[in-house]
Symmetry: D2
Subunit: 206 residues, 4 copies
């Protein structure tokens, strides 16, 4: 009988434990006992096809990761509301003192598609949250209606939003923090990197 | 000279591309061209040590993933604000129609520690966002001050918050959706699973 | 179009290179530049299903490996002929000074099946070499005709043959070298270990 | 306390079992129950640094593997002696009907070094087997004394020896079997491929 994904995940955990705790404990002992010290904050989409650890062959401890719909960063707006993404950015930059922030977008993004279809309205019919959420990037609709183009432009927008966080602006200015925009073309398997000088994405995996 | 994590990530992407696009393209071709169909929504912490794909040896396409500080789920509160976590839950349940939602917490969580230290106030000194964010689980402080115990109770609280989403309640009642609470003890490498019948966590990787 | 195995191997090499030489060069630099120092000599079957590195999740540098049909060890017989297996044993024990020798057999072994069918004759019809090769273990036919039982007994026989090498006998006696017999039950995925005290195999992966 | 390699291997087996038998049994069930059907015979060195499955990211079932000192192939010489390498070649070509044979050599080979130092004599002092074994390739000493150059030439010699097996000659002539010579430069991490037209090795991993 076919395994469910949950069953696969539990079996996968056994393999993780055998590999990291029994076979090569030296790879995780300090990390698990002494605390994390990641160099990178990665902000990626929740999409199941663009898992950052799979895409970058990461090891435990390397990346502090935010995943939300369409890998969006809101502008700095401190108020009494819940700010999940901003909280994680704050923790990564101020407490963990990461050296790099990478925003990782991708082609055929369902969240960006909702933005293209319903972003002006800021409301997706019969949905409570997603229309408002993706409207955060509605300024990018001027580059529409190609979903992939909007998704690339949205990365630029998120990079600008990151710079509205005062401590990010400060540390970038001081050369202590680097911001990166990456875009994964899923069909061809190509990673593109944002080049601020030209405001364009260039092939970045070579 | 030591590699930076960003350099490692870019080299890791080359290995991902060689493995999935050149060596075994049959594993991702449909997924990348036809769209995702994950069975599981996983809500995990941003902590660099608890990467869900590494912990479960996942393949691309298996899990739709939210990662925020302390793997928190807010209650259902539709309004005009940005709701990153709720948007992703909505998309996973209503559009992708996942069959399982797993909340994955872990020991020694920095976000829960902030909750224990400053949650009553709902404000961490010199921080703009994290105090408010983690205060979402402040009802769990009655089980304090042990950070690990509060983090386990917070998973129970998030499971309850999931049930305030009307479509989740409906699909759970219909037997179409299962909710799971998992807690990863990092030091010993043990995965615990929430047992609703006893309101306790039991060792779940065996 | 489906990839050939050779194409997969070449793509796999690109992934190996990206992972070990570009992403985590510290894992192989010394090894590749300064020479090998494996602790273990592993003698396994050529069978494509029992690849020792896959079965043990090995890293480069950990195991010096002989693979021949049916993981056989001949007795010590120095003469002017070519002795592939004995040469590798000699090099591993005398030059590399391994601490452990593991003989790894497995169920449903084609070489042992040839032994069971044609071993008394020492000749497989229409074949030039394999009959003679597997006849090395023909003393194990007294435990036949079950192929798996003969293959387990053949591991015991190979362990005895190892002890005919004077330097192995010497180092085992001195406690500097340990001999192990392992048998992989492919169908169930169970690893059995030879227990010299009882002359039986016991489940050994736990 | 540091783990021994044998302990690591046993823990690695647990991870293999969890991954292949519990998490993704569909990848091995047929293979383990119905028998192997590899497309490739790979003849590699026993050196712990050049494990073929690690170098090519292989899956169980893909390669039938011979590993001996210096990845040597003797000429076809059917007699009553034990012929480990020839037996495996015979089984792979005649019974398994592989489509490709790959000989995989590498830089800084200890066996080839013994050939360069003692090959004319055909005898390594204080050693019983290795001098005779590597003398199989002594015709390559005319290209000496550079160990890497002799090791590359030895691959050419082994390819010629393969062609002395009548059924190999026949199947190559019929276009049913392809012979390949690969050489792994360990220091730089480069895979070179033998080009019969020019009798030279060219970079082959691109």
């Amino acid at each position: 009988m076919a395994k469910s994904t949950v069953e696969r995940m539990l079996a996968g955990f056994k393999s993780f434990k055998a590999m990291y705790y029994e076979q090569r404990p030296e790879r995780v002992t300090d990390l698990m006992n002494m605390g994390q010290k990641p160099e990178v904050l990665l902000i990626a989409c929740s999409d199941s096809r663009v898992d950052p650890a799979i895409l970058t062959n990461a090891e435990p401890g390397e990346m502090f990761v935010i995943r939300n719909v369409a890998n969006l960063v809101p502008p700095y707006e401190p108020d009494e509301n819940y700010h999940g993404t901003s909280s994680a950015i704050e923790f990564a930059v101020r407490d963990l003192k990461v050296r790099d922030i990478v925003i990782l977008g991708h082609s055929a993004c369902g969240g960006i598609q909702a933005l293209v279809e319903h972003g002006e309205a800021g409301k997706v019919p019969e949905r409570d949250f997603i229309g408002e959420w993706v409207s955060m990037a509605k300024c990018c609709l001027e580059h529409g209606p190609d979903v992939d183009e909007v998704s690339r432009r949205s990365i630029g927008n998120s990079l600008q939003n990151l710079m509205t966080f005062p401590y990010i602006q400060e540390r970038v200015a001081a050369g202590d923090l680097n911001l990166h925009g990456w875009w994964f073309g899923m069909k061809e398997g190509i990673l593109w990197r944002y080049d601020a000088a030209t405001d364009e994405f260039v092939q970045g995996d070579e």
